[in-house]
Symmetry: C2
Subunit: 298 residues, 2 copies
């Protein structure tokens, strides 16, 4: 295990612990709503790669933001990511039975419960961000909320998911794939990367560097996902492989070929790493994350 993998794993454990701590008190209740809380806990028990949360912690560390603040923002981002997976897995969407190596929420419970679990996790993310424990300055909290909402909403992640569904069985040009993926996956990664700068009220040049880093790794991430869908195996992925090809989805691999896609991804990662030079030694983790994004196996 590399240092980066150890860092990612311990970050993910801490962030999911923080998420679970917000759900645990609900489980003391006794009414019919208890089913919802159990299903929320089920989804969070599974954990996750925690890449988005790790990006929040690492971008915050660039500016020495207190870890307690960054942890809550990381939890909010992972709650949004988790909700999106629960909804995306539904029969009317991607119709997946497996997620993170476990039975999906709607298979373990039912569709209605899974829809409500997603709604509740999304809402909880904003509740956490609004609380004063997240940052002493309310304006910083509002900026986090506005940015997360924009990136995860109709003109970000949710819009990207819609475009992805519409694109199924269609053929898209390179620019259209890029735009759709920027919304679907890139938007939330973007927020994760820039959130440290928001928490620190960083100067503009530093924020610009984070934004450029974010855009590059966002696109590289999606290309890597397309490559994994083509070459990965189901056991390692914890989800069905080859489904993009089966669905004749528009992917970068279909467009550029496997080697072309790999070269494009590395080019983007080099660009992201170059942006971190201004942070000196403090920027190392962000550089390692960038490289990890295309080296990962799931």
């Amino acid at each position: 295990m590399t240092d980066l993998q150890r860092g990612l794993s311990s970050s993910s454990a801490a962030v999911f612990q923080c998420m679970r701590e917000h759900v645990a008190p609900m489980l003391k209740g006794g009414g019919g709503e208890r089913r919802l809380y159990e299903a929320m806990a089920y989804v969070l028990e599974g954990g996750g790669k925690g890449l988005r949360g790790f990006l929040v912690l690492s971008s915050s560390a660039l500016f020495d933001v207190p870890r307690a603040y960054a942890l809550r923002v990381a939890a909010a981002v992972e709650l949004v990511h988790s909700y999106s997976l629960v909804h995306d897995d539904l029969p009317s969407m991607d119709d997946d039975d497996l997620r993170r190596g476990r039975v999906t929420c709607h298979k373990r419970y039912d569709e209605a419960t899974a829809i409500l679990v997603g709604d509740a996790l999304l809402t909880l993310a904003f509740e956490i961000l609004a609380q004063d424990k997240t940052h002493p300055d309310a304006l910083v909290r509002c900026r986090l909320i506005e940015s997360l909402a924009r990136k995860s909403g109709a003109q970000g992640m949710v819009g990207g998911q819609m475009a992805d569904i519409v694109a199924q069985n269609g053929t898209l040009a390179s620019a259209e794939i890029t735009s759709m993926q920027e919304m679907k996956t890139g938007a939330l990664l973007f927020f994760s990367c820039v959130s440290g700068g928001i928490l620190a009220d960083a100067k503009q040049a530093d924020r610009r560097a984070l934004e450029a880093y974010a855009r590059a790794i966002g696109l590289a991430f999606q290309i890597a996902d397309d490559i994994l869908d083509e070459t990965g195996d189901e056991k390692t992925l914890g989800k069905r492989a080859g489904k993009d090809k089966d669905a004749a989805k528009a992917t970068f691999v279909a467009l550029l070929g496997l080697d072309g896609a790999k070269a494009k991804a590395q080019e983007l990662i080099d660009e992201a790493i170059a942006q971190m030079a201004r942070f000196g030694k403090k920027g190392q983790t962000m550089c390692h994350i960038a490289q990890f994004i295309i080296d990962r196996r799931k």
Copy 2:
């Protein structure tokens, strides 16, 4: 048309206009996500009673909060209410074909689109609240967001919807029905009533009065809904009538009988009206709304 009905109607027009103004710029885009924006616009085109938005405007008027601020908060609440209706109408939930007299979102589009529409409307509510146009003081905006998230999330509206589903075909005691309905319908009405006090940073005694008013009308509202489901006709309601009875749902009418339910509702309304005495003439609209809640026909 009474003064109250005119006020409600003009408030609803202004609030839905504000909501539509946030979706309109999205419709200029051209990708696959356009389907999402059209479906969001479709849901908002239908308008709605706008009772929650009217409560925000009226509770804000008690303290002379600028209307521009109150309007955005009202839009946020109605966005949350609209998203909850879109999700509740889904086949795996209440499975309704009609809403506000129109074909429901998932029937007009499809289930996947309707799920995403709900997600996007919910997210937009928080984006609007976080923006500085909503109130110059970021702490006030954070309080609004935290309160709305709490009331609409797992321990509020979403939890209530879960409890309602679990309760179907079951028999609940009076205390359990009350608790479930307080979450499902009461929580968002509660936020609507107290939001004026949050926007005005009102003194504690005034906030307490709004909270007591909110609890009373919240419960009265649900009792009135149960009565309407029993006695109303589909054409006026704009949705299927008698469905609670068909589903053997636990309602106040089933529990107290029609006359008992009506008496209980009037008792609660009298209580709510008494709480508004402290605001003198300025409290009149809030009193009229309280009475309207049990006199309405849909």
